[in-house]
């Protein structure tokens, strides 16, 4: 059975288990209809011109887990930022793992979407925020909404500064066979509140995984949020990450995406400005090889005056890897004094590696500053020669230069332990052996 048909019939099966009278369910049905009409996106769509899901849709995925899976902490410890204390919301094959998690209701809510969607005490917030900015016309987001049952739910009340980062980790064990996951998360940072979130999708064994995730983030007035996405999955795991961020005035949202693994990764990252003096930052480092594919599709909708957006994506592609960067910036007529900056720099290490990069600017205001630039290059031969004259062999020298090229994106990472970790990952990916400073 084709995946689409399987999903449609699975929806009927799911309806046997859930409360059909909940208002969320009407949303689910409506969104399923959208998916049914549109189906999975194909390369015929402009937005999917360079990324094909065809091979991702081939395996016969299980939609729901067939059996309970558990994990020992020691098996998966390395996927956590164990160097520091953090809240944790952990899922194993889509099912919440109380054993690996460390949730809270003390001062802020770090808990489960399944609870938020069903318990009365969350109703007001769910009514106000759930599925309010996820794109209901996008077939994959709609598909996620149709199946939205589990994921992380985070609410940071006004003026609360979360004292430790929150890690959201989705493990896929392989015990369900080829498996499709559709986590749904909601993050609300109320006025003057602050939070840092680290997200990770991790497959643990040989099997095909297809994750279609949706995360909605609401940054209220003067809120601050950092989201770090660590994408370093196995070669048989694919991810479509749909993230929607709505910002109110004076808020600051930063998203760092580290794409180092996986078979196919598509990041749909969307920012919507709903007040003045907003800052939005998107940074990314992509380092892939073999036949890996990473597609960054960003949108910043400047709909209010005096806001800033800043995008800086670096990509390093080896072998036959393919990268895509499409950065769309919309500036409404009302959004005067917008300052939008976009930069995408790429290094191709091999002749067969590919990058498709495209800025897409739609500007209707006349008093704005929008700059964009993209570069595609090989490593600087003179720089390479410099390193080699110091006795560093060509391969290592190349690694060191690509490391230097990617590294400055890390400057804005606000969690030192995470910065060190990503730094090491980059060095490892590039075969650079940097010992720590004396």
């Amino acid at each position: 059975m084709e995946l689409k048909e399987k999903l449609l019939s699975s929806f009927l099966a799911m309806e046997q288990e859930i409360d059909l009278s909940a208002p969320v369910h009407a949303m689910r049905q409506e969104n399923l209809k959208t998916f049914e009409e549109k189906g999975f996106p194909t390369k015929k769509l402009e937005a999917w011109k360079y990324t094909s899901l065809a091979s991702i849709l081939q395996p016969s995925y299980s939609i729901f887990p067939k059996q309970e899976a558990s994990l020992e902490l020691k098996e998966v410890k390395k996927y956590f930022l164990y160097e520091i204390d953090s809240y944790k919301v952990v899922f194993i094959d889509g099912v919440y793992s109380p054993f690996l998690s460390d949730t809270t209701h003390d001062g802020l809510d770090v808990c489960l979407m399944s609870a938020a969607l069903t318990k009365p005490k969350y109703k007001a917030l769910i009514d106000r925020y759930f599925n309010q900015i996820a794109d209901t016309q996008d077939s994959l987001s709609a598909l996620n909404t149709a199946f939205a049952r589990e994921g992380a739910y985070i609410y940071v009340p006004p003026s609360v500064v979360a004292e430790k980062p929150i890690e959201i980790i989705h493990f896929s064990t392989g015990k369900q066979g080829d498996f499709m996951l559709q986590p749904r998360s909601l993050v609300v940072i109320d006025e003057n509140a602050q939070v840092q979130i680290i997200e990770r999708h991790q497959s643990l064994a040989e099997h095909s995984v297809f994750t279609n995730a949706v995360t909605e983030v609401f940054a209220e007035k003067n809120a601050q949020v950092d989201v770090y996405k660590i994408q370093n999955d196995r070669h048989d795991a694919s991810l479509v990450d749909n993230t929607f961020i709505a910002q109110q005035r004076d808020s600051n949202a930063r998203v760092h995406t580290f794409s180092f693994g996986g078979k196919m990764t598509r990041n749909n990252l969307n920012f919507y400005h709903q007040g003045e003096h907003i800052q939005s930052t998107m940074k990314g480092i992509t380092i892939i090889g073999n036949t890996q594919h990473v597609d960054h599709y960003t949108l910043v909708h400047h709909a209010q005056p005096n806001c800033e957006s800043h995008q800086d994506y670096k990509g390093i592609y080896a072998d036959r890897a393919v990268g895509v960067f499409n950065g769309k910036i919309m500036v409404d007529k009302i959004a005067q004094k917008t300052n939008a900056f976009q930069q995408n720099n790429n290094v191709l290490l091999d002749d067969k590696a590919t990058i498709n990069t495209k800025p897409q600017l739609e500007i209707f205001a006349d008093d704005v500053k929008c700059s964009h630039g993209c570069t595609i290059g090989q490593l600087d031969e003179d720089a390479l020669f410099y390193l080699r004259t110091r006795g560093i062999p060509k391969k290592e020298a190349k690694g060191l230069l690509t490391y230097a090229f990617a590294n400055n994106v890390l400057e804005s990472v606000a969690i030192p332990a995470l910065k060190t970790r990503v730094n090491k990952l980059i060095a490892e990916k590039l075969g650079v052996n940097l010992t720590h400073d004396l």
Binding site: F385, I392, E396
Partner: protein
Amino acid sequence: MLTIKNLHASVEEKEILKGINLQVNPGEVHAIMGPNGSGKSTLSTVVAGHEDYEVQQGSILFDGEDLSELDAEERAHKGIFLSFQYPVEIPGVTVTNFIKTAINASRKGQGLEDMPANEMLKKIREKAALLEIDSKFLSRSLNEGFSGGEKKRNEIFQMAMLEPKLAILDETDSGLDIDALKIVANGVNKLKNENNAVVVITHYQRLLDYIVPDFVHVLYNGRIVKSGTKALAHELEAKGYDWIKQENA
């Protein structure tokens, strides 16, 4: 130590070196002077092993071994060091980390184990002191945001750490104020001994007041047209390069 015989070299099909002969022995300091575009930097680049430069004729022998088949890193492992006129910036890699990487790469190339951390630390401290480099400098990203003087001092610091047999200093004096020049020259002089050699490439005589050469060569139009002692450098300073050009017109 270094024997260059009838060296012809070109880049992008353009012949730059047109028959260079040069003999450098252990314990010697040579200065190569000449007007802009005479081939000074090309000579140093060719000796260091840049892939873009093609040797068409002649040979470069180092300790009797023909260098033509060796990569730049292999030449470095043999003990050739080139100080760059424009050192490269490497953000995110500290001076310390870089020099450790370079030293251990060279040791590996020579079939040695990594240098023990305490020995490395001691050596870094010692050589940094020699060049009046403070520890904050060592934890900065390599050459990133360095002033001209800092870049050159860092080059000589690397030379001090790597202890080459032959150091070629390409325009090390350019962009240096007199104080920085003295520190750099002082460092070079302290590193100098009877077993190693230095080739100083410069447009001006100024540096040679501090690093005193045993021999001075004038390079013009891809050839060494005059060789002499330190007096030749003074003559060049007084008369400029025009008389060389006229003599060789």
